[in-house]
């Protein structure tokens, strides 16, 4: 059975602890990929990124992405944690951990999960600036859509 864990939370997360939990006492895991998305500072400097989300739908969309990844690649488990609320530059936003027997499946599924999550999971980022300038909503990147299309071309879309 594939252990898929998804959490959407206000609090920070501890990647090492989550990694230990995902490993548990298994000896058949040969690869763990750990991706952490951080709040990056910009010019002009940010005071915070505000992450708004659609409670309920955010969890189910991420779960669906994780499930799709587990049907495409032989993975043992995945843990995905996405935060919401005010997040300061340097702080963590998202964690994606994938465990598999081999690195190919772990790398590919972790990237797939992040690419899908960015365009399917209902989260929106608003930039708040240190100098007090009017805050603004971040527009989606064209590259994110292109990244998604790559997966849709490589295999028939699964949902």
């Amino acid at each position: 059975m594939v252990a898929l864990k998804v959490r959407v939370q206000l609090e920070d997360f501890n990647a090492q602890e989550e990694e230990k939990r995902l490993l548990s006492d298994r000896r058949d895991i040969g690869a763990i990929i750990s991706f952490i998305g951080l709040c990056r500072d910009e010019e002009p400097p940010l005071s915070a990124l505000e992450l708004e989300h659609y409670a309920g739908m955010a969890e189910t969309e991420i779960e669906a992405v994780a499930k799709e990844a587990s049907s495409r690649w032989p993975i043992f488990g995945a843990t995905i944690i996405h935060r919401y609320g005010m997040i300061k530059p340097g702080e963590q936003i998202v964690l994606t951990l994938v465990a598999a027997a081999h690195r190919e499946a772990a790398f590919a599924s972790a990237q797939f999960i992040m690419d899908y999550l960015k365009t399917k999971a209902p989260f929106w980022k608003k930039r708040h600036f240190l100098d007090g300038a009017a805050s603004d909503w971040i527009a989606p990147k064209i590259e994110d859509d292109l990244a998604l299309r790559r997966w849709q071309e490589s295999k028939s879309p699964g949902g």
């Binding site: 659609y54 996405h82 365009t119 929106w124 989606p140």
Partner: protein
């Protein structure tokens, strides 16, 4: 039916959510947008560029043609920028 608005759509409308009592002829997401636009300036501004609006019916991604006939909750939001 409950309508929920997110991000700049919420800001332009000036409401996070509201209860809607729709006329019977409003049956799809696109028809609901038409109906909402007629409610006032904030709505018109929120939906001025329809291509940049996403919708969910009962917490599932929906298209402009999706039915809302038996929906309990419909959400409108801009393209997502999480991750």
């Amino acid at each position: 039916m409950k309508a929920i608005y997110f991000a700049w759509i919420r800001e332009r409308i000036g409401l996070a959510e509201e209860e809607l009592h729709l006329p019977q002829e409003v049956k799809t997401v696109a028809e609901l947008v038409d109906w909402l636009v007629g409610r006032g300036e904030g709505y018109a501004l929120a939906f001025e560029n329809r291509q940049s609006i996403r919708a969910a019916v009962d917490k599932r991604h929906a298209s402009a043609h999706s039915s809302i006939v038996s929906a309990r909750e419909i959400a409108f939001f801009p393209p997502m920028t999480g991750g």
